[in-house]
Subunit: 192 residues, 2 copies
DNA sequence: CACGATACGGAACTATCATTCCGTTTGTCA
DNA sequence: TGACAAACGGAATGATAGTTCCGTATCGTG
């Protein structure tokens, strides 16, 4: 079953603890500064040395990928909950999108990643994205059957709209309101 | 009328020529590489030395601002032409947005700038943006009077949607289709 | 045509960060 | 508790890229 990697010995207690501290610290720092955040800052905020950060994540990119991966995991969780939620299908879908937008509203790095600034960070998140796509497809289809989402909406339209909303969130030069952008986006999904 | 700056002597012929070469070269390089383009590349592609680039533009940022400013100028031109164009007001507006999207479809740096990645680059483009906003407002209002654009669409909704479409254009990790995004965006403007 | 001012080129300088290295510390297990 | 492997910290390294400097070349004018 596992032909490529040898089994790795369990992490020492302090290492396990530090790994989580680093991820938490990194989330804070990358949320504030985006992809240009510095590894030294991550180390400092996490309360460890840079060397320790690099012991756990071989590169800055690997660290960012882990943050993005966890974000997609949260997305999946929101979406999966919605599968069994009551309510009109369009509203359920809208709720998922709104919830997932809120999740990343304060995180500049994740916004940038979702906008596709650098494809590298996406590598290593295939499983999560696939599952998210699956569920989103199901949610859209239900709403289409109910007649509340346009029949021509495809699987890629949802992430595409999310990508646009991320740009709005991250816009530093003008105070656009991403809630408004989401509202318009949802209106464009709605069947007439 | 001019209380702040002293009159500058006219540029020497070679300097004037080089200035245009630099802007053209910079457009190519920044279009391909986005904001992370390098000044040495700009110099090389423009056929001058780095020193010359810096003689004309004190910083990389100033050079990018000039490119963005010219882009806004083109936008204004497209939009101004539309003011006297025949046709149903919604279609006229749609045409402007489509045309302006096409203008920047191949320019990574401008896409990034319009997405608001770095507010600094916007400084020095106030006049152009103001005029563009003015004209866009007029075009929207006409369509609203004609009943083909939702009455609640405000002046900032248009640039916000453009911002989102730029994100789609620049997405390196997934091949989203910005024409589709524009189409959805226009649908969200349309009165029902 | 000569000469002063303007402009040019590109090597050198500098700052910024990601990443590495190694001496020290700390967990784990017998 | 003693020993050894695992993990740590942070100074040092190296690479990248913006910017400056100054000797040289070119333009425009008298």
């Amino acid at each position: 079953m596992d032909t490529t990697a040898e089994t790795k010995p369990p992490l020492r207690a302090d290492a396990r603890r530090n790994r989580e501290k680093i991820i938490e610290g990194a989330r804070k720092v990358f949320a504030r500064s985006g992809a240009s955040a510095q590894m030294e800052d991550v180390a400092h905020v996490s309360g460890v040395g840079v060397g320790t950060v690099y012991r756990h994540f071989p590169t800055k990119e690997a660290l960012m990928t882990e943050l993005v991966r966890r974000t997609f995991e949260s997305f999946v969780e929101t979406a999966r909950d919605a599968l069994t939620a009551p309510g009109e299908p369009f509203e359920v879908l809208a709720g998922v999108l709104h919830g997932n937008c809120e999740l990343i509203a304060g995180d500049a790095a994740v916004q940038q990643a979702l906008m596709g600034a650098g494809a590298e960070v996406w590598e290593g998140t295939e499983r999560e994205r696939a599952e998210l796509g699956q569920i989103a497809h199901e949610l859209v289809e239900r709403a289409q059957c109910a007649g509340t989402v346009r029949p021509d909406i495809g699987p890629d339209d949802i992430p595409m709209l999310m990508c646009g909303i991320c740009a709005t969130m991250g816009h530093t030069a003008k105070p656009f309101d991403w809630h408004r952008h989401l509202e318009l986006g949802l209106d464009s999904l709605r069947a007439r």
